[in-house]
Symmetry: C2
């Protein structure tokens, strides 16, 4: 059976099939509100927050003093001196999902690294706790106060400092919005080696502070490899200039690495230096249906072999995920039959390269190979930008579709690829045994769906458990069981979202005592007073 | 003028030209003895070694005790109890270039991580200093004792622990030889993301401990990005199991990063987990002559644009480097005229990809573009494995050719690419001003040649200064001037060789006081007794 035939399925709407390959258009992306609805399940965790530690309580005198340190009096707002209402501070006290609710009476937006330094020195000298805040787009409450910590927002540090088109090295303030940085690079034929759903709001300094993973990790690797240098204000106000623009420098400990993923607990990233690759001029995407998780693994291996250096994403989702998306699309009046033969699993393969003809040839050879050997049941290949977005939406609509179907317990874990789907199977078994899973002769089950999907290429699994409504007994069935099976499979309880305040208590499921002890010592070394982003990360 | 014509130069010997492209053969590489001869200039530095610190002096009782901890009594040899002669210990006390000469009375080769742990705990409890040693292939004396430190050699930790062909993740003992690991991976279609001249001897644990850069960095990035986990024995004997096999794990500080490039000063790497890419199935190489360093930069940019994801190396060398190689080849009776039109500069462009036809097309398009726009003067493209090796030898023979021409002062620095060659020009000016440079009306100049070359893609410059013989007044003209101009150009005084004992005193030329202070604190945190690899790195 020919590739042309198999890859000619999509009968309705905007997705028409062909073997032609689409070039150079970015894919659709979920926006904030969709994610917001998808994540409400975790709100309750706020009730278990740690008690306030013995830091100094901010006073009117502190506000006057700090204002003196700033070039503009508008850079500080506070409810204490009436320069702000509680409502005006809410955007900084609360996270964007409205899960975490700090009670800080003041927010500072310094306009320079020097101002950050002065504010930090003052807070350090006066025992005032501080929470650094970037775009405030995190998912674990890392950028919001827990109690009355002073909010130090980086939004006013928003300059591109330099870009060298020979080396591809960008130096920019920590408060530059990711999309702004990427647009700046796009105009010059380069790409930021990180992509996120929150790119329109998140800051590159925050990305580095949280070691954001995102959608380009498979291709460009982690920030630990691409970040070349950092400028950091330490807890006592010292400015550490580690803003190297060198790819190779073996002169002592690579200090910047400690700050990458430190979630603002040992320093505030005020600028980054990062190596940016050339922007791919051609991009293609295909989605296949498969009969088993073993087949997905097999296809992942074949994709790496056939596509080599141009494979830019390999995502997978199960039939439960796909069912949620189809239901969502039906309800939105967008019924589509994408596959002639559906499967228990699906995979999305994206390529990004410098030559569209070559990329098309490689991808076509892969797809023919997969079909001839019956590694996949069916497949579709995008022909234009609309199809490109539509195929990506099959994967990207999953969180939104799950949220629409009920209250979602969401987990973001990583495990070795071979063991990844076992977590979903174990969870399904448990939910069945406890007779809470709908279906299989249990029409009254309160769990409506259990869906598994994620970044196959990175071993990053998302588990969404859709309940009729949130209930403590349901949560007790799921947690800490989910963390236990992650630990049994040598996985991470937080693949990319970090620990923040939400997962700080659970670090022991992923890290051993020796690791945690070393981390505590490092925190103590850099921040002996514990003033920076307290109650979080390593507690 | 057609590409075919321009790229048809090599008239003599094994290099015949064509536009056909060669596939899948590794390039030639310099062997140990060549490098040995090239590096003798630094021997003198040994005379400025720091005095012995107040560590416990090893005794016969210590030897009896440590022997008890080992599964085999042969795992320890010592001159103290007569189980070894001083000559037998020489291979461990001395470095391979015969530059550094330790005086240790004993060498231990534990057979397991547990044995490393027991030995370290004993040494820690008894105040005995220890130098960890891998393949002993370093260039800065980092793996040899300075005084009587116990040598802990990792050669008996030499097992591949696991490899997962789905994810490409290799887990192996720290004492596995790099070439052994790469051969193991080659059989499975994968590649170790690091390549070095010393690959036949160096250990992968030592590579990680020294953050080795090497020949594949441009393509696969630094070890900070590819290493996923480490197992480390800490100075007090604690085994830290950080051997993660996860690409994504955001649960706390990324501790492994501290050990990457720590040169054995805060822990002994007993195993690594590393992400290995698929092995490229096609490899090509071309060398071009150019009129200026600006042209080299221009061509580097064009190569990145045209070759994108398949560019695997971009090396450059100046006409002085090429003159040394030609002279060496003439003296060896291998006269070749590679270029019809020679230039002031040369660049070597290597591609590695998954499809030889596609790669050839991309490279040909680049070369046509370069010629049509007169970015290059001339160019040659390898057609088979012999030509592939021959073209690489133009670059790789430089150190050997320099060594043959006289006593060589060698420097390995990195600076931003745009400023790279300025260092050579400044040095040339200085040598002329001091009237020590041969030529330009100064036939008696004691400096016979000044050659600049290196890894353009990594900003890594090698400067070789060839003198008639080593002389203190000459060295004083060169140093610390060379470090000063590196510092002025925001560079690193050690791009990839590390600090060891040789460059430890010079760290201040690259790192500021805040950095060095943080480093000292980290060393103190992990190794408060200062027992591990003393006198080196951060002193």
């Amino acid at each position: 059976m020919s590739t042309g035939k198999i890859f000619s399925r999509l009968a309705t709407n905007s997705l028409r099939l062909s073997t032609l390959v689409h070039s150079g258009v970015p894919r659709a992306r979920l926006t904030g509100p969709s994610l917001l609805r998808a994540s409400r399940a975790f709100v309750r965790l706020g009730s278990t927050l740690p008690p306030r530690a013995n830091f100094t309580t901010p006073t009117e005198q502190h506000i006057r003093d700090i204002r003196q340190l700033l070039s503009s009096s508008h850079s500080l707002i506070s409810t204490i001196d009436g320069s702000a209402t509680a409502d005006e501070l809410k955007a900084y006290n609360d996270d964007w999902m409205n899960k975490y609710h700090g009670k800080s009476p003041m927010m500072v937006k310094p306009k320079s690294t020097e101002e950050v330094s002065k504010v930090m020195k003052y807070c350090h000298d006066n025992g005032l706790a501080v929470v650094p805040q970037g775009g405030n787009t995190g998912l674990v409450g890392g950028s919001n106060p827990v109690h009355d910590e002073i909010i130090l927002n980086l939004a006013n540090l928003s300059q591109i400092r330099s870009f060298d088109p020979v080396s591809g090295i960008l130096v920019a303030d920590g408060g530059v919005v990711l999309e702004t940085a990427d647009n700046y690079l796009a105009e010059r034929g380069f790409i930021f080696p990180l992509d996120l759903g929150a790119k329109g709001s998140c800051h590159i300094g925050g990305n580095v502070a949280t070691n954001a993973g995102g959608l380009r990790l498979l291709r460009y690797g982690s920030l630990h490899g691409t970040v070349l240098g950092l400028e950091v204000v330490l807890p006592d106000g010292t400015i550490w200039n580690g803003l190297s623009k060198l790819r190779k420098d073996n002169t002592g400990f690579d200090l910047k690495q400690l700050f990458i993923g430190s979630e603002g607990t040992i320093g505030i990233i005020t600028a980054i230096s990062i190596l940016c690759p050339r922007r791919p001029s051609a991009m293609n995407v295909a989605v296949c249906s498969l009969s088993s998780y073993e087949a997905v693994q097999k296809v992942f291996g074949e994709a790496k072999a056939y596509l080599g250096e141009i494979l830019s994403a390999f995502e997978f989702f199960d039939k439960q995920s796909y069912a949620l998306v189809k239901k969502h699309q039906e309800e939105s009046g967008e019924t589509r039959n994408v596959f002639e033969q559906e499967g228990d699993f699906y995979c999305l393969i994206e390529t990004g390269g410098s030559n569209s003809e070559h990329d098309e040839a490689k991808l076509t050879a892969l797809l023919e190979h997969l079909l001839e050997n019956e590694f996949v049941l069916d497949g579709v290949l995008a022909q234009d930008s609309t199809q490109f977005k539509s195929l990506w939406s099959l994967r990207e609509l999953i969180p939104e579709s799950a949220a629409k179907a009920g209250s979602v317990y969401k987990y973001d874990v990583s495990v070795p690829v071979g063991k990844m789907y076992r977590l979903v199977e174990n969870m399904r078994l448990r939910l069945r045994e406890r007779r809470v899973l709908e279906g299989d002769g249990n029409p009254q089950g309160r769990i409506r769906a259990l869906a598994g999907y994620g970044h196959m290429g990175d071993g990053n699994l998302h588990i969404n458990i859709v309940a009729d409504k949130y209930a403590e007994d349901l949560e007790k069935i799921i947690e800490p069981y989910i963390y236990e099976i992650v630990a049994e499979n040598e996985g991470s309880i937080s693949a990319e979202h970090g620990l923040g305040v939400m997962k700080a208590p659970y670090i022991g499921y992923t890290k051993n005592k020796t690791s945690i002890e070393m981390m505590r010592k490092i925190k103590q070394l850099f921040d002996p007073k514990g003033l920076l982003n307290p109650y979080k990360y390593i507690v």
